[in-house]
Every structure is written in C-alpha cells, then in structure tokens.
C-alpha cells in the first residue's frame, strides 16, 4: 500500500524555485533513497514533506490523506517525522532530554527510551551528558533516536553520512535495518551512492530540483546513475 505519494511538487525559497514538479511514491515497509549532487534539492524536498516549507495541499498525500501545507507538529502526529540535515541536537538538553523532545507529541508505538538505548547502547551510557558533547556519529545516533521517539510510520533521514567516517556510516545503516524491521518505512537522502544502493529498494536521483532517474538499484547501471547524477 502506498504510504506517501508526491505529485508535481514545486517549492520555493522566496522567488527562488528549488523544486520543479517532483513526483515520488513510497510504499509501506520499503526503503526509498533520494540521491543527487549538492544543490539538487534533496534537503529542500525532505523539508517540504516535513512541513518546514509551504507546499500546495494536493501535492503530498500521506496514508491516503492530502497533507500538503500542514504544520510540522500535525505531520508528526500522523507519523511523518524528519531527522534533519546536520543532526540539529539541542545543546541545552541532555541526551535523554533530546530523546524525550522527540516523544513530545506522545504518539504511541514501539519506540521508548529503553528501546532506543537498546538500539544505540552508547546513548544509554551517556544519557545525562549534554547532547552536543557527543561525537558526530553519536550525535547522528541521537538524532535518529530522537526521530524514532516520535514513533514514525515514515522516517525521513537527511544525509546520514555527512562528515562521518565510513565505518560509522556503516553502523548507522545497520541500525536503520533494525528500524525497518520494526515496521517503519524509510525515505533517506544520501550523497554516498554506494551505501544507499545496498539498502534501498528504490532510488530516485534528483538533479536541479527535478527527478532525473528512478528505479530499483538492480536495474540501474552505474553509467545511468552517473549520467543522471552529473547530467552528462
């Protein structure tokens, strides 16, 4: 069943158009990846889905309901949650408090503090430390954990690998497998193409704010991805 359906989505920053008629579908239970170069509109796309940018009501359908233009809190209530680019950990809050902010709306589901600590034991060990005392990879765990605390049906994850060592990224993707096993659908944005081809069932490649290529990783050749990615 289609969980998220995006039709002809355009988005603007003031007069600047960042997205040009994006159409995309995510089926419940699958992992979909959006790849593309810097400035292709990937982050804008996720922010538009999460209610951080104004979008027309009919452009986004979630669980059969038109949700375009709804506020972020209303979307979190429906189970559409974004793990933002750059992690955005709250510096005044401890690790535990950062996680609890994720549970602010109180949406029921499998994810609790204990469950997140089991997924990322390190967060449990450091629960009373300020969130920003953690290393980059640990902060990314915290950001994912904070998103999970909202008990999302669809978790949008922006640039997991940003500034992190390959081994750390690998561990984070392994954790996402466990998230998926819990029944959460994932839409990830990534620049690290090889990483994403291994975990995603379907891939969309963005270029200049539009979809340049889409398909299952097995059916996409490296050449086609490269051509869509760089526009050569």
């Amino acid at each position: 069943m289609t969980l998220l359906s995006v039709r002809e989505l355009s988005a603007f920053y003031g007069d600047f158009q960042a997205l040009f008629g994006i159409s995309l579908d995510v089926t419940e239970g699958e992992t979909v990846a959006v790849i593309g170069a810097n400035g292709a509109g990937k982050t804008t796309f996720l922010r538009a889905l999460a209610g951080a940018l104004p979008v027309p009501g009919s452009a986004v359908t979630f669980d059969g309901r038109p949700v375009g233009g709804r506020s972020s809190p209303a979307l979190v209530d429906l189970g559409l949650v974004l793990v933002p680019e750059g992690r955005k950990i709250f510096p005044s809050l401890s690790v535990r408090e950062n996680l609890l902010v994720g549970a602010y709306r109180g949406r029921p589901g499998p994810w609790t503090l204990e469950r997140v600590y089991r997924l990322f034991p390190l967060l449990g060990e450091r629960r009373e430390q300020p969130g920003t005392n953690l290393s980059g990879g640990e902060q990314q765990m915290l950001a994912i954990g904070r998103g999970l605390m909202a008990n999302p049906r669809l978790l949008l994850v922006d640039e997991i690998s940003l500034g992190l060592a390959p081994l750390v990224v690998k561990n984070l993707y392994r954790a996402l497998e466990a998230v998926k096993a819990e029944g959460t659908t994932l839409l990830v944005v990534e620049q690290d193409v090889s990483q994403v081809l291994a975990v995603a069932q379907r891939v969309y490649c963005f270029r200049k704010g539009a979809v340049a290529l889409e398909g299952a990783p097995a059916r996409l050749t490296r050449e086609r991805i490269s051509a869509a990615y760089f526009g050569t």
Partner: protein
C-alpha cells in the same frame, strides 16, 4: 545594627525586584522577546486588583487568585495575534511592538483610572513587623514578598528543568525550527511562556501596589529595575535573577541610608559597574545569545 537593618531590608526588597525580573527573563529566554511593556503589565495587574477590591470587597492578597489568571489569559491571548509577528525578525520589530503596547497600556490606564495615584490596602499586614531582637525588625510583608519570590523561582526551576513543557522551552530557545520539526508547536509554546510571564508579573504588580503608591505611568520604572536585575544576574539564569534583584535592593537601601536622594542612584551605579566588570552578568549560562 542600623546597617544590618538596611541590608536586610535591601535583601527583602530584592525579592520584589526578582518578581518583576522573572517574567522578563522567561520571555527573553524562551523566544528572545524583549518585552518593553513588562512594567506596564504589572501596573495593569495592580489596577485590575484595584477594581476587584472595590467591586468585590476582596483583600488585595486574595485578589491575586483572580488577577493572576486574568493576566495569564491576557498574555496567552496577546501572543499569537500580536507578539508572535515580530519574532524571528531580529530585535527592532519586537522592541517597536512592545514599546507600542507599553504606550497603549499606559494611556488606556490613564483613560480608565485618571492620573490619581492608588494604593492597595491589605488591612494591616503591610505595616506589621517581626521583631528579631536587638532593635532589628523586618516587615511581615517584605518577608512574604521575598518568600513568594523564592518559591516561584524554585517552582519555575523545577518546571523548566524537569517537565515536558520545560524541555520544550529549552529546545525552542536553542533552535525553534528543529523544535517544530520534532512536533513542538512554537506558537502555542510561546503563548504558554507569555502567560507564565504575565502571571508572575501580576503578583509583582499587586505586591508593588501594597508596598507603595502607583499611577498609570509607574510601569517604565519597574521595567528598568527588572532589566537591571536580569542583567546583573546574567541572562538565562533564574537564580541569577534573584541575586540580581537582591544586589539591586541592597544597593538602593544602602544608598538611601547614606543620603535619601542616593537610593535611586546607587542601583543603576551598581548595574553599570557589573556591566563594566562582567558584561554577561554574574551567573550567565555560558551559551550564545543571538
């Protein structure tokens, strides 16, 4: 002994200043709003108490039960249509909007209550005192004011430090955009913060009205004291606000003891000294303010 008396009176006066400063500190901390109408809202609360006392024959201290919720409702209702608009556009728009509110409030009060000075009479407690021996006596009312200030600060500290709303306050203060992505409705949260701020300043206004006379134009002076207490204590620290209020109170009573005219001067002098020596205040949390 006379000096000890002066200092004790100053400390207790500091409790009143802390009550004025707490709400100001709260709204600045949560939403970076510098509320120039803060003092006027305290006077508005005092006038509402005057009406309650006249119409219902209430003791002004009992009128708190009525005035505090009324002022909280005023704060909550004012936030969304008026005070949310300038947020996130830098300091000048917020200063203009609250400066405008200050003028509107003062002139509204002038229109409704004339320029006569008023006082709230709680029926004796304002002059009763507790004799501590050795010629030292403290008034019951200043003692009550100080105790209420401390209790309120303890309560707020627990609210901000331990509750979900408190976490949301701190998260929104750190990064409002990300807080919204996590499901925090900033508009509603800011309305809660403003309601809290005006609830506390309502208490301050009524205590002020019991302690001394006030007119429609008494607000800006109160705002100045509140600002000084917040800055002396350091932004973002509630206990710092109490200490700031106490330092200000002691400076005033000590100055007034030296010469009656000096009381109004020594407070601001201490404030300037703190600004010179420790510009971020005595207990500022080491975090950026932008």
């Amino acid at each position: 002994m006379a000096w000890l008396d002066t200092i004790v009176q100053g400390i207790l006066l500091g409790g009143l200043y802390a009550l004025f400063a707490t709400g100001l500190s709260l709204t600045f901390g949560v939403m970076r709003l510098v509320n120039l109408a803060h003092g006027d809202f305290s006077i508005l609360a005092a006038f509402i108490a005057v009406v309650a006392v006249q119409a219902l024959g209430l003791n002004p201290l009992l009128a708190l039960v009525l005035v505090v919720p009324v002022m909280a409702a005023v704060g909550s209702r004012l936030q969304r249509p008026v005070l949310n608009r300038p947020l996130g556009r830098g300091t000048p728009p917020a200063v203009l909007v609250t400066f405008g509110l200050s003028i509107v409030t003062q002139n509204g009060l002038l229109e409704a209550f004339s320029a006569d000075s008023r006082r709230l009479n709680p029926g004796g407690i304002e002059t009763a005192s507790l004799h501590l021996g050795g010629g030292l006596a403290v008034g019951w009312f200043p003692l009550l004011t100080f105790a209420v200030a401390v209790l309120l600060l303890v309560g707020l500290q627990i609210l901000i430090g331990r509750s979900a709303v408190g976490r949301a306050f701190r998260a929104a203060s750190d990064d409002g955009g990300t807080a919204a992505l996590m499901g925090i409705d900033n508009d509603r949260l800011y309305a809660v913060a403003m309601a809290l701020s005006l609830a506390v300043v309502a208490i301050a206004g009524i205590f002020l009205g019991i302690r001394t006379t006030f007119t429609f134009s008494s607000g800006p002076d109160r705002l100045l004291f509140a600002f000084e207490a917040v800055i002396i204590g350091g932004l973002g620290s509630l206990w710092g606000t109490l200490v700031g209020g106490v330092i200000l109170g002691v400076a005033q009573t000590t100055g007034a003891r030296v010469s009656p005219g000096w009381g109004v001067l020594t407070g601001p002098l201490v404030f300037l000294a703190v600004l010179l020596l420790r510009p971020s205040g005595l207990f500022a949390k080491s975090r950026r303010v932008d």
